[in-house]
Symmetry: C2
Subunit: 412 residues, 2 copies
Amino acid sequence: MKKNVLIIGAGGVAQVVAHKCAQNNDVLGDIHIASRTFSKCEAIIESVHAKDAMKVPGTLAAHEVDAMDTPAVAALIRETNVQIVINVGSAFVNMTVLDACIETGVAYIDTAIHEEQDKICETPPWYANYEWKKRDLCAQKGVTAILGAGFDPGVVNAFARFAIDEFMDEVTSIDIVDINAGSHGKYFATNFDPEINFREFTGTVYSWQNGAWQENAMFEVGRDWDLPVVGTQRAYMSGHDEVHSLSANYPQADVRFWMGFGEHYINVFTVLQNLGLLSEQPVKLADGGEVVPLKVVKACLPDPSSLAPDYTGKTCIGDLVKGTRNGEEVEVFVYNVADHEVAYAEVGSQGISYTAGVPPVAAAMLVASGEWDAKTMRNVEELDPKPFFTILDRIGLPTRVRDADGDRAWNA
Amino acid sequence: MKKNVLIIGAGGVAQVVAHKCAQNNDVLGDIHIASRTFSKCEAIIESVHAKDAMKVPGTLAAHEVDAMDTPAVAALIRETNVQIVINVGSAFVNMTVLDACIETGVAYIDTAIHEEQDKICETPPWYANYEWKKRDLCAQKGVTAILGAGFDPGVVNAFARFAIDEFMDEVTSIDIVDINAGSHGKYFATNFDPEINFREFTGTVYSWQNGAWQENAMFEVGRDWDLPVVGTQRAYMSGHDEVHSLSANYPQADVRFWMGFGEHYINVFTVLQNLGLLSEQPVKLADGGEVVPLKVVKACLPDPSSLAPDYTGKTCIGDLVKGTRNGEEVEVFVYNVADHEVAYAEVGSQGISYTAGVPPVAAAMLVASGEWDAKTMRNVEELDPKPFFTILDRIGLPTRVRDADGDRAWNA
């Protein structure tokens, strides 16, 4: 039953994935890490050994690969004899890595939607632009492909499925709320690569309401949320991957995503945006040279991975799901709270990377056990959430429920 | 008595200087414009002819010169047979142009202090770092050099001298207040080259108080000023050239400079400054390239000269001078109000360039008439202010006085 894993990518999330695979290498098997920069893979391996994270003796090896090169990824899959690929590389490599998995017949897991470098905020539903076009091929070839298996998308999709299955006959709305109430102590920083991070907020905000796609501008719609542990927090309707699959699976429900932002973040973002400094189009300098402003902003901001040692506070990410049971209105909030300092102590990463990196390892373990080995392409809400929660409880991201009956573990 | 003029520079201020020289070429003589970019000189000449600005038929010619190259500037002075150089090029060329004037024995007029590219906010008094080192040489050779003859420095130095001479026995304080209450209609823009403009606010703020240099941070000390025409405006203590010469000439007085800023300007400036985007030190991009962030910000901001057509509103720049007469405390505000739309209609420039470009032409006319032909180096407060005001009244920048006796023309 043990299955060998290839991790694509060597950033902050990949580090968490590697630690968690190592901690569970009695369920998984050999662990391989590949990225364009060999030394970054080696650094992750060093950090895994520094924490003595390997549960049982086994293989943990670094490789260099260009993830945009399908034949090269396929060759690496064959050479390393892996059965599961966890893709936590840049958002630009999803399709080339997926193609390599289909070609070699191994399972594919990712945590975010595919993006093309030169396109921002494509038309909804986003998954239909790239990933879902390969769904029939996956089914035909019996290849398991689990899309968006990070926290959001990922665990929040499972939260929605669980809330609907357990607590209601009909669902009317799913509001996903993502609050980072932590503090990195810097004037300003992004938690992921600024180039990817800002792309989420520079285009149209799509939500699914009243059975149709609705469009808003970023920071146009804000709402205060009263949440467990982190208290009342303001969040703004934003575009996000999971709105696009959940609305396809639950078209009768309104599906919205809300991201928490402080006034300071919004102010800095607004200034940069209005000055054109978040642009991906090159500008001409006085000396005739050309440069992309966003790349200069990125160079001036702190490296997201440098934030981890001083990060304090907690995240709260959950789904407020509303519907009816026996004709009565019901609502339930399914959520997780994670802690930046605890994450750093365990795997050397901040809480945002931790919440993104732990779930795909749980998914891999469920593919290894057969429970999620679907032999086709699936978004997370199309899979049984309970074994997922059971593993997540054990490996660091416990699921809780708050409703009229109180606040408790999901399986209490 | 007529004297030929060479204008160094071809930016927004040079355009105003050219128009005003043309309008007064019965007092001045041939007009030559030289900059590194020949086409910019030609564009200015075209704009002068478009307004039919030449008072009498005469020479108006464009030249290409590198103002950092003293022998080249000296050769151009000889070739064009000019007797006065008005230097409104970048702040980096003062010393090389001054050297060419000393070498050829012609009069030199500038509007701002010398700066070295790689130094920001040098130690006070700033003039002593560069210009004043040539004072003895100018006297020895009988060369007239008038430093800082724009509006501020320049007219405001004459305002101070006038207030002290006319209204008091002893001066106790000189507060120069510079308010641009105009609106350019853009999200954000600087009125001069952003590289020069931001340099004024990124270093230590020096003021002369209690007989010594005092240091503050930018935006640390703010005060509301009740002013003629533009009303109550908030201004912040800033470093500025004229504080350095006025404090040497009036060491018994407190000398401060106040620049008006709206909250929006301060917010944008603060964000850019805190992110490191105003830095002149290159940063390394992800692709290995290097770029100076400030140059990228400059490329993203509107070209200052593009603001003129839509600029509305007024500027108010003046000196609040306090002292004693016959043992009684007195105070007087000497000031000018200029209008952006009027300036654009007359010379095709916005009001900020207009206030900077008109005064050096008045100074040149006084050199031509002999009244300011000092045969040595002078800051403006060391020259008789009355003939200066008389010309400024006539050519577009009238001087007014407000005190306990009311608001009136300086010579009413």
